[in-house]
């Protein structure tokens, strides 16, 4: 129980307060962006859990002007059509940091509630104002709860609780909070975040009213949600020592053997016995009675045993190529888009799926830099792009093989989405993906797969363009010829006949004749 005691001693909220940078609150600009992001992620999670196409409304407004001692204060309201919470769930969901420890494995944007709570906590710390949560489940009363977080005790303090309405027709949640921040400087990142989110969550309606009075609308392009991920047990190679310890403490299993089969996937009776034999532990020993040294032996046995089947990828919920393309099309209006979903793969016993896409042309403009949109479990990653493994892979690929001279100077955007039960972030900031060989390989294969289609598209397009230019040159030259002959002979020859002959050739895309001609 020593772990738990330590958690009690230094309140999690207190811990966060002292280590703001870990969670993305290191300065007012970053904090402004992180607050929007965390509340939107929470709202999306809630809606997806309800299996509703999400409808998220964000309103941010100035609350207090900048004065001598402080930056401006803002009021933020985020509304979702998610599962909704009952009056007793609200304080627990929003009023504590590290709200739950889950002994299960599922892909989610983050740990449920955690990011949102930290956003609210930041607001409370900077303004000393309470926040308000209004929520209802379908057919139940609407509650409005005004509360704060007791940082030392890591406990919610409900200041006011009232029923707004007897029966709600739909489930929803509205969170309202105040914070000190800097919108003008965070604006670019926030808009980028919403725009990139709209791509990876194409089934969501998102609106944003910003403090400057701008109204941004990101309408959904589809009602279809990707399938929900299934929950699954941990893979024996995917647990670390600490998690194993906590599982041993919390389990209701009475023997080690049943502990292994009940809490891990890919472990049956025979496998469990073999693992315990390697560990030198009796199968019928009570899990909670293991000594520290025995736990380590069990851990090493799990690590060394090499006959586990690979982890079950059904816990993952990739977007799917169709939805990915749909989102890209609606937000970027490209001329070409191709998305690819790679088959499930595994790194260090963590299942993952890579999805890649390439968009080209249309309303995309070259920027002089590589345009790369990165996502991890449907969250856009906006910082440290050049450190990301995807960026390095794009830099390394010889794009001329795919008809692209330099991706920096062409209207091309790359997309990489990684879904995993444990995204291999390089740093605690969770902004870029580490160069894990298994993951890098999948990203490269995915991008090359998209690029092959791009090459075909480009060569068709360029060929059409060439034929069109050629026709245009013919038209111009025969125009001169016709005018000159008219001047010399007093009669204009019918050059249109010849041009009509050419038009037939131009229209015929696969016609070999045009190709034999010299190109201009």
């Amino acid at each position: 129980m020593s772990e738990d005691v330590r958690l009690e001693e230094i309140s999690a909220a207190d811990f966060f307060y002292r280590n703001k940078s870990l969670a993305g609150f290191d300065n007012p600009v970053r904090a402004t962006y992180t607050i929007v992001r965390e509340l939107v992620e929470n709202a999306l999670d809630a809606a997806e859990m309800a299996e509703n196409p999400p409808k998220i409304q964000v309103v941010m407004a100035g609350y207090k002007e900048r004065d001598m001692g402080s930056l401006p204060w803002y009021r933020i309201v985020v509304a979702d059509n998610g599962i909704g919470l009952g009056p007793d769930e609200i304080p627990r969901a929003f009023g504590r940091v590290f709200v739950s420890s889950k002994y299960r494995l599922i892909q989610s944007r983050g740990t449920f509630g955690l990011g949102g709570t930290m956003a609210l906590l930041y607001g409370q710390i900077t303004t000393n104002m309470p926040f308000k949560v209004t929520s209802a489940k379908k057919g139940e009363p609407v509650y409005e709860i005004t509360m704060m977080i007791d940082i030392q005790k890591n406990e919610p303090v409900v200041l006011d609780r009232r029923v707004l309405k007897g029966i709600s027709r739909a489930s929803f949640t509205v969170v309202e909070s105040y914070f000190e921040g800097n919108y003008p400087r965070a604006k670019r990142k926030i808009i980028d975040y919403l725009h990139q989110t709209a791509i990876v969550v194409p089934y969501a309606d998102i609106t944003f009213m910003d403090p400057e009075g701008n109204f941004y609308v990101f309408p959904r392009s589809t009602d279809r949600l990707p399938p929900r991920p299934k929950e699954a047990l941990y893979h024996p190679k995917g647990v670390d020592l600490e998690l194993l310890q906590r599982l041993l403490q919390a389990t209701k299993a009475r023997t080690l053997k049943s502990f292994l089969t009940r809490h891990f996937q890919r472990v049956g009776g025979k496998t469990a016995s073999e693992v315990l034999k390697i560990a030198g532990l009796p199968p019928d020993k009570k899990p909670s009675k293991l000594t520290k040294e025995e736990i380590e032996r069990l851990f090493r046995a799990l690590k060394s045993y090499d006959k586990f089947l690979p982890p079950d990828p059904s816990v993952l919920s990739p977007l799917g190529a169709d939805l990915f393309e749909s989102g890209i099309k609606k937000e970027l209006r490209p001329e070409f888009v191709k998305a690819v979903q790679r088959p499930p793969s595994v790194y260090e016993a963590h299942p993952f799926i890579v999805e890649t896409a390439i968009a080209y042309g249309g309303q995309i403009r070259p920027t002089g830099e590589i345009q790369l949109y990165r996502y991890a479990n449907r969250i856009p990653l906006l910082y440290d792009v050049s450190s990301d493994v995807s960026y390095q892979i794009i830099k390394r690929i010889d794009w001329s093989n795919y008809g692209i001279k330099s991706p920096e100077d062409e209207p091309i955007v790359f997309f990489v989405h990684i879904v995993s039960t444990k995204v291999p972030f390089k740093t605690v900031g969770k902004e870029f993906i580490a160069n894990v060989p298994e993951v890098a390989k999948e990203i490269e294969l995915g991008l090359r797969n998209c690029a092959r289609d791009l090459r075909i598209f480009l060569s068709r397009k360029r060929r059409k363009e060439m034929l069109r230019r050629r026709y245009e040159l013919f038209r111009m030259y025969y125009q001169i010829i016709a005018e000159t002959l008219e001047e010399l002979l007093g009669e204009r020859p019918p050059v249109e006949n010849l041009l009509d002959k050419l038009r037939v050739k131009v229209g015929d895309e696969d016609g070999g004749d045009g190709g034999q001609e010299e190109s201009p």
């Binding site: 001169i480 010829i481 000159t484 001047e487 020859p493 010849l498």
Partner: protein, 366 residues
């Protein structure tokens, strides 16, 4: 009249192209290119344009189509000038293409583009550009007792029309000779020494004409010399002793590759009288070695190239050329100044040299 002939040929070509278009076919122009295959060299005639292969400008290919449209457009401009009695230079012809409506098509990148088109028009029509109004700025004079009737019908005497003599016009074909009172024409590369001879009264005293080439002889000058040669007037050529001057002399005698397709520019009867290597080695200038000039790198390169020019292949030219490669020196006509302390002496030397040379090479005594 040549003018009528140009018009006739141009309109024939236009009609042919219009007819093809009417029939729904891509037009073509066939012409003999001035490639090496089509050019022969004969010591007694000079360069001969003798077409064996023909090329086609096809209206069905983008690159070719540009040329075809360019030729037609060029001809239409040329005819317009002809009909209005106007001439144009190559530079003018270039500017005739620098017009708004030709942007993206015939608007030229530089003058080389339209210059090449002029040669093509010459080959297609089989006529020199001067016939279709594209002329060069006149270059070259003739001074001497020659009476001629010019294009406008005036009678002129080439030693009474200014201190340089008669300026040879771009189309000397129209000139008729009324009376030729000279024993020979000496064509001189450089203006300075030629003017000196005129100023010293040598043409009048010795009954010769001086043709001032001013460098490489212009097409009109070469045509004019050929006309005089055809009248039976002996032509002598006096140049520097240098790799370039060999070419100048040979071009007067044989014509050049670039204009090989234009007839009557060669004067095979003309004789190269000097300055020759033997004049420097053992002849007239043997005591003036100190006045020779060193070859520049460009001169030396020219001498190396001379080894392969078709019109310099006979033994005489190659022997002369080897001297440059060996000695790496050259002599200029101005060497007479180095030999003469006084104007009187200069005149004596000029006359003495010309007398010796004209006698040796043309059998004429002055």
């Amino acid at each position: 009249m040549e003018e009528m002939e140009v018009k006739k040929r141009a309109l024939e070509l236009a009609k042919e192209i219009a007819e093809r278009i009417k029939q729904g076919e891509f037009p073509e122009i066939e012409y003999p290119p001035n490639s090496q295959k089509n050019i022969l060299f004969d010591e007694d005639i000079g360069y001969i344009f003798s077409p064996k292969t023909y090329s086609k400008i096809r209206g069905s290919r983008v690159k070719s189509l540009k040329t075809l449209a360019g030729v037609l457009y060029g001809l239409s401009r040329a005819l317009d000038h002809l009909e209005n009695g106007l001439t144009m230079t190559k530079r003018d012809f270039y500017y005739v293409h620098k017009v708004e409506r030709l942007k993206g098509t015939l608007f030229p990148e530089d003058q080389r583009e339209t210059d090449a088109r002029i040669v093509l028009m010459e080959l297609i029509l089989g006529m020199p550009r001067e016939a279709f109004s594209i002329t060069s700025d006149p270059r070259g004079w003739i001074y001497g007792d020659i009476e001629l009737i010019d294009r406008s019908g005036r009678i002129l005497r080439a030693d009474q029309v200014g201190e340089m003599g008669y300026s040879v016009p771009p189309r000397p074909e129209n000139i008729k000779f009324k009376r030729i009172g000279v024993k020979a024409v000496v064509a001189i590369e450089k203006v300075g020494p030629a003017k000196n001879m005129i100023e010293l009264g040598i043409p009048e005293e010795r009954k010769i004409a001086i043709a001032i080439l001013q460098g490489q002889a212009s097409r009109s000058m070469r045509r004019f010399l050929r006309m005089l040669s055809d009248e039976g007037v002996p032509i002598a050529i006096l140049t520097d002793l240098s790799p370039w001057s060999l070419r100048i002399a040979a071009t007067v005698i044989y014509n050049s590759i670039n204009s090989a397709h234009i007839p009557y520019l060669a004067s095979p009867e003309a004789r190269f009288i000097g300055i020759l290597t033997k004049d420097v080695e053992v002849g007239f200038f043997r005591d003036y070695q100190f006045a020779l000039e060193p070859l520049t790198p460009a001169d030396l390169k020219a001498a190396q190239d001379n080894q392969f020019l078709p019109n310099l292949q006979n033994e005489f030219w190659q022997r002369e050329n080897r001297w440059f490669l060996e000695k790496k020196k050259k002599a200029e006509i101005e060497i007479f100044k180095a030999m003469s302390p006084t104007a009187k002496k200069l005149k004596e030397l000029f006359v003495e040299y010309l007398r010796e040379k004209l006698d040796e090479h043309l059998g004429i005594s002055i």
